[in-house]
């Protein structure tokens, strides 16, 4: 049996006791000190710093995102060691850019920071993956890709996660996606009834039992071309 872990205390580097936020102003207020540090370190890559509802949002350049995240994670004065969330926001205004949002926490300093990358309409929807820094980003980025179609460059396994792999209707959380889906109810019913209810396996999974070699020729060709086993 391995030796017991030593306890890691959150807030080890933060002075004083935290208190519940009270009378938080909608705009303005004290920004997170990390925002100033980021400006000093990555002057050209910080587009704007907003403080909304007491939370600091830093809008950063897409090209330098991974460097910024790595610096925030590694720097002794920041120590953003915890990735809370990765998500995206699409506004109803079709002119406004898409926002990809990272919520970071520094457990030792008890800080909370929001990073944003703006993706202009018509530009390529891709941002660097933060998976090399935070392993927890794996599924969060996959979900964001699934729901918004934003590619995370450098992600080891960027597949759909909540929708199935053969899902043809696009990315559900985009504003141009109708709330009831792109296809009519009768078409959705037809697809559901014609789908193969048996469990499906990916190429990777089929290679486990060396089952791939045992498949019929046509199915092997289809799989090698990127198809799925079902349907």
């Amino acid at each position: 049996m391995t030796a017991p872990f030593t306890t890691v205390m959150a807030g080890a580097a933060a002075p004083g006791q935290p208190t519940s936020p009270k009378n938080v102003p909608l705009r303005g207020g004290e920004p997170n000190p990390s925002a100033e540090a980021l400006r000093a370190q990555f002057a050209g890559a910080i587009a704007r710093v907003d403080v909304v509802c007491g939370e600091t949002s830093v809008i950063v350049d897409r090209a330098q995102l991974l460097d910024i995240v790595r610096w925030l994670h590694d720097d002794a004065g920041q120590q953003y060691d915890y990735l809370s969330d990765v998500t995206a926001v699409e506004y109803r205004d079709p002119e406004r850019p898409l926002e990809v949002v990272w919520h970071l926490r520094s457990l030792p300093y008890r800080r909370f920071l929001r990073l944003k990358v703006l993706l202009e309409r018509g530009s390529e929807l891709s941002v660097p993956s933060v998976w090399p820094v935070y392993k927890g980003a794996d599924w969060l980025e996959r979900e964001c890709y699934d729901m918004f179609g934003i590619r995370f460059d450098g992600h080891p396994d960027l597949r759909r996660i909540l929708m199935w792999e053969g899902y043809k209707e696009g990315h559900p959380l985009r504003k141009d996606f109708p709330v009831r889906g792109r296809f009519s109810r009768s078409e959705q019913l037809r697809q559901a009834l014609s789908a193969n209810p048996e469990a499906r396996y990916s190429m990777e999974e089929l290679s486990i039992a060396q089952a791939f070699e045992d498949l019929p020729d046509d199915m092997r060709r289809r799989l090698a071309a990127g198809g799925t086993v079902g349907e």
Binding site: F5, A10, G136, N196, I208
Partner: protein
């Protein structure tokens, strides 16, 4: 026999193929015209398993996966070499639907995502909405919400402990736990009228004040519950089978646990004292006296100990909350978000307008965004809401703790036995309603 493409799938998913590529058992297959027949295995060929890895599929319809989780496992003998989880079978599109709902109409959706912890989710959502509106709730409301959150935590941990005992082979604690859970449901039923899907909170207040005599019932619960905890303790905690089946499994070191984004009892069992109530407090949690239990080995057994201790600490918090519960109004006096009393809405012009506006259009928040996280029973539950000034949110994001915790399962089950996968999976405390949303 002309078989369809479907045949191979049936063989793979139900029985697997042997080394010669022939079905090990005889699965049912259908041919082109839909006739069902069995595949005849040629006689005299013994399967040869030497050196081959096996593909095992668990779920999505398997009682030990606690919902519709599907795990595809690569086994070498009985040891897990690789685990590929599949989720999404319960995806309901809550986040998409919420973009077409007013803020008050979203509260019932929070019941249904993590349905074992619904009162806690209600509290989390309205905290976010109040941050957006800039509303300061009353003291009585704060204390009532603390009681609600802690009852919700106990409720959820009871289900976890009961079902995990079943997974590992103990049945009696399950009955004791569910009996106590029933007692909490009775309390909630007396308060808000619902048991599972409570919708107990409103923006700026609560759905209802507590009824007369409710505090006495709650006191009765806080007195009797620790006795049941001691009984479970005496049956389970030092039980040889329980200890043997849970120690040393699914170990996550403190660094890994933080890097994988684990939260709640999962990260605390790994020795990281991160609790949103302590480190990013809300509802004046910093004024309550309670401990954050921390594990030392980060295995399934530690997760059990942490959750058991959390229930005792929750009882402590509830007792303090009862002692300080102030009198006074529950709801804020702000008719942007709180409906005026019906009697005034029918007699007073201004109240009627407020009532009409709220019901027909819904309350309008200012333009802004906020991410509010609470410590739910599973971990850091965050709601990120973005408003463009209309009564419906542009984006309502749920930060699902169980989803992130589950994403570490390939790391945790690697190298363990197949039967330990069930115990490790149970220790994550997954609720598929929250993972798939």
């Amino acid at each position: 026999m002309a078989t369809t493409k479907r045949t191979v799938e049936v063989e793979l998913s139900t029985t697997g193929l042997d080394a010669q590529g022939r079905p090990i058992r005889r699965p049912l297959v259908s041919d082109e015209s839909g006739n069902i027949s069995t595949l005849e295995a040629p006689p005299g060929i013994e399967p040869d398993f030497e050196g081959e890895h096996m593909l095992i599929n668990i779920g999505p319809q398997h009682p030990a996966t606690h919902g519709v989780l599907r795990l595809v496992l690569e086994l070498d003998g009985e040891t897990v070499v690789r685990c590929i989880p599949h989720v999404g079978y319960l995806h309901c599109g809550f986040e998409k639907t919420a973009e077409y709902r007013q803020y008050t109409q979203i509260i019932p959706y929070t019941d249904r995502e993590d349905y074992l912890n619904s009162p806690g989710n209600n509290v989390a959502f309205v905290l976010g909405a109040e941050r957006l509106w800039g509303i300061e709730i009353t003291e009585r409301c704060k204390v009532l919400r603390v009681i609600l959150s802690e009852l919700s935590r106990i409720m959820s941990h009871l289900v976890w402990a009961g079902t995990t005992c079943i997974d590992v082979g103990a049945f009696t604690p399950f009955l004791w736990m569910f009996y106590q859970r029933e007692a909490i449901y009775k309390l909630l039923e007396d308060w808000v009228g619902a048991r599972l899907t409570t919708s107990a909170t409103r923006i700026g207040g609560m759905a209802a004040d507590i009824p007369d005599g409710w505090i006495d019932q709650l006191k009765h619960f806080t007195r009797t519950f620790p006795k049941v905890m001691r009984e479970v303790d005496s049956v389970v905690t030092r039980n040889g089978i329980w200890v043997g089946r849970t120690t040393g499994l699914g170990v996550m070191s403190p660094d890994e646990a933080v890097n994988y984004g684990l939260s709640g009892p999962m990260v605390r069992a790994s020795g990281v004292a991160y609790d949103v109530r302590k480190d990013f407090p809300y509802l004046d949690y910093e004024t309550y006296d309670f401990e954050v239990p921390v594990g030392t080995r980060g295995d399934v057994y530690d997760r059990y100990l942490v959750r058991m201790e959390e229930m005792r600490q929750s009882i402590r918090i509830i007792e303090q909350a009862i002692a300080r519960l102030p009198d006074g109004p529950v709801n804020v006096d702000d008719h942007r978000v709180i409906l005026p009393p019906k009697s005034r809405a029918t007699s007073d012009m201004e109240s009627m307008i407020h009532h009409f506006k709220q019901v027909m259009e819904g309350p309008r928040p200012p333009i802004g965004e906020t991410y509010v996280a609470v410590e739910s029973s599973k971990g850091e539950k965050g709601y990120y809401m973005v408003s463009d000034g209309t009564p419906k949110p542009v984006r309502w994001r749920i930060r699902p703790p169980a989803f992130v915790n589950l994403s570490a399962i390939p790391k945790m089950v690697e190298g363990h036995l197949l039967s330990d996968v069930i115990a490790i999976n149970a220790s994550i405390d997954i609720v598929m309603g929250e993972i798939d949303r």
